[in-house]
């Protein structure tokens, strides 16, 4: 099957520091590809490259086989790349519904219309409702996001990524800050929708990673040290030494 998103030899340098060096990976429809690695390995930077938030120093990004290197984040989004951020990046002073409406509407063609009423596009509200149901935020739908707890805000973060109906879903530590039960429910959510997207997942919660991932890439100091099936990674000595520790050896 052809990969929906593919990175070829991506490199990103920040004055002196190579945060991502020569990383290649790809992800197909219906697959969850987890990227793990110690703090500062370059995972978030890689995500930023894939989502167009950063421009690569070298290397290419392909969506559906077409080279889209150099596109900005809004273009990438329109090409079907949705993402969540590690550091919560939502609209604090808007309500949960308003947050989602914005995301949903980004897929429409009428965003430039300044004389029509939002009420004349009820499909937005419908989609929003669906998304909120999925991430279980209906109960706080009318609350301002700044009044939500940290965990709830993380859920909004994911809702925004889902709401744009992406082909590729980039999730940067979606479970960070979530309680045990919320984590489980997000894992369940991802399980239920995995067939709809190509997902690249960065996460430190290894239970979740091993529960979800079809393939794994392990990064260290900007580069890829191992890539493969979960069970192989789990038993790799290098990965254990660099990242997992022995706890996960079995």
């Amino acid at each position: 099957m052809r990969s929906v998103i593919e990175a070829r030899g991506l490199t990103k340098r920040f004055s002196g520091l190579t945060a991502v060096s020569d990383v290649s990976l790809s992800c197909e429809h219906g697959v969850i590809h987890a990227v793990i690695g110690p703090n500062g390995a370059g995972k978030s930077t890689l995500m930023n490259l894939l989502s167009g938030d950063l421009k690569p120093t070298s290397g290419n990004i392909l969506i559906d086989g077409i080279d889209v290197t150099g596109s900005g984040s809004s273009q990438m989004s329109l090409l079907g790349v949705g993402r969540s951020y590690q550091r919560t990046n939502i609209y604090p002073s808007l309500t949960v519904v308003e947050n989602c409406n914005l995301a949903v509407q980004s897929r429409s063609k009428f965003s430039m219309r300044f004389l029509s009423d939002v009420g004349s596009h009820p499909e937005v509200e419908v989609d929003t409702k669906n998304v909120l149901e999925r991430v279980r935020l209906e109960s706080v739908a009318q609350k301002r996001v700044s009044e939500l707890s940290h965990g709830e805000q993380r859920q909004v973060e994911i809702a925004l990524a889902l709401a744009i109906k992406p082909k590729v879903l980039l999730l940067d530590e979606p479970l960070a800050g979530m309680g045990a039960e919320e984590s489980l429910s997000i894992v369940a959510l991802l399980q239920s929708i995995r067939s709809e997207f190509a997902v690249i997942l960065v996460e430190h919660d290894m239970d979740a990673v091993f529960a979800l991932a079809d393939t794994l890439t392990v990064m260290l100091n900007g580069g890829v040290i191992e890539s493969g099936l979960p069970q192989d990674i789990r038993s790799s000595d290098r990965v254990q030494a660099a990242y997992l520790g022995e706890d996960f050896s079995d």
């Binding site: 993402r83 002073s93 300044f114 939002v118 744009i164």
Partner: protein, 301 residues
């Protein structure tokens, strides 16, 4: 009551009310940028003033122009200016945006002030106000204070309705998204620059309406109209009233203009009193005067 003002009021107060109405349009247009889009401009008077200049330059020496042609021409010219200015200043953010709008506004100021092109520092006088003649049976005469007042009143209503409409439109939704978190809005797939530019142009064209009316009312255009003092004064009204609400500019403008008018009557040291009022409002109503209304409502709960 506003509708019947010309019936019972003295001439001067009708004129004063018209002045307030004109400023409400201007301040509302600025609020579209400051309050709704989060773009704090300190050069908005450039559009207010240049609209007047367009009228003054277009006005033939001895006859009066068709009101609507003149208004449309001013709005279009200013819209183009807005697009050019916007394209430049929208590259910057935050305080840098404030300063680049200031820079462009002041450049326009010095251009008008230092060259002979449009009357230099003395400006231009408009002798024949534009008018409108409906097939000869009804004549809109803008030198008639009541006519002018009604025109201003109608335009204020239209502008407020327009802004309300914009804010409740899909476009308005994106605009407020940009205000709260532009980065995320971009990541959601919006080309935010384009949205901001459109908004900037709309705001400049609405400002053009007010500048046009001001030029007609005062019969003079002058570099001071585009200077940063004029921009700053309007910004004060936005903040005073409370940004980001439709009512804020109306309250802020009316209050500040009334306060200034009353104090000017009362004492030579009117600026001292105005200053004190401004400081007190800023300290005690963090959300501007509209906050007053809301906090009352809240305490009722």
């Amino acid at each position: 009551m506003l509708i019947f003002l010309p019936v019972f009021s003295e001439l001067y107060y009708i004129q004063f009310a018209s002045k307030i109405l004109i400023m409400i349009i201007f301040v509302s247009s600025l609020n579209l940028l400051v309050g709704f889009t989060g773009l704090v401009s300190l050069g908005h008077a450039a559009f207010f003033g240049s609209s007047g200049y367009v009228l003054a330059l277009l006005s033939p020496a001895d006859t009066s122009m068709n009101l609507f042609v003149a208004l449309l021409a001013s709005m279009l010219c200013v819209g183009v200016l807005g697009a050019v200015f916007g394209a430049v200043v929208l590259r910057t953010k935050g305080i840098f945006f404030i300063m680049s709008t200031l820079a462009l506004g002041e450049m326009l100021f010095y251009f008008l002030h230092d060259t002979a092109f449009a009357g230099g520092s003395d400006g231009i006088y408009i002798y024949d106000r534009p008018g409108f003649n409906l097939f000869g049976w009804w004549q809109l005469d803008l030198s008639n204070v009541s006519h002018f007042y009604y025109l201003a009143l109608i335009l204020v209503c239209l502008v407020l309705m327009l802004i309300k409409r914009i804010m409740n439109s899909p476009f308005g939704r994106v605009i407020s998204g940009i205000r709260v978190n532009e980065h995320r809005t971009k990541a959601l797939g919006y080309h935010t620059y384009k949205f901001k530019l459109v908004c900037f142009v709309i705001a400049s064209m609405i400002a053009a309406i007010s500048g046009f009316l001001a030029a007609v009312q005062f019969g003079v255009v002058n570099p001071e109209m585009v200077g940063w003092h004029a921009s700053g004064h309007a910004l004060m009204m936005v903040i005073l009233g409370g940004k980001g609400s439709l009512l804020g500019p109306v309250l802020g403008t009316t209050t500040l203009m009334l306060v200034e008018e009353i104090f000017q009557e009362a004492t030579k040291h009117w600026q001292l009193l105005t200053g004190i009022v401004v400081v007190l409002v800023a300290l005690f109503f963090p959300n501007g005067l509209v906050g007053l209304k809301f906090s009352k409502k809240r305490s009722e709960i």
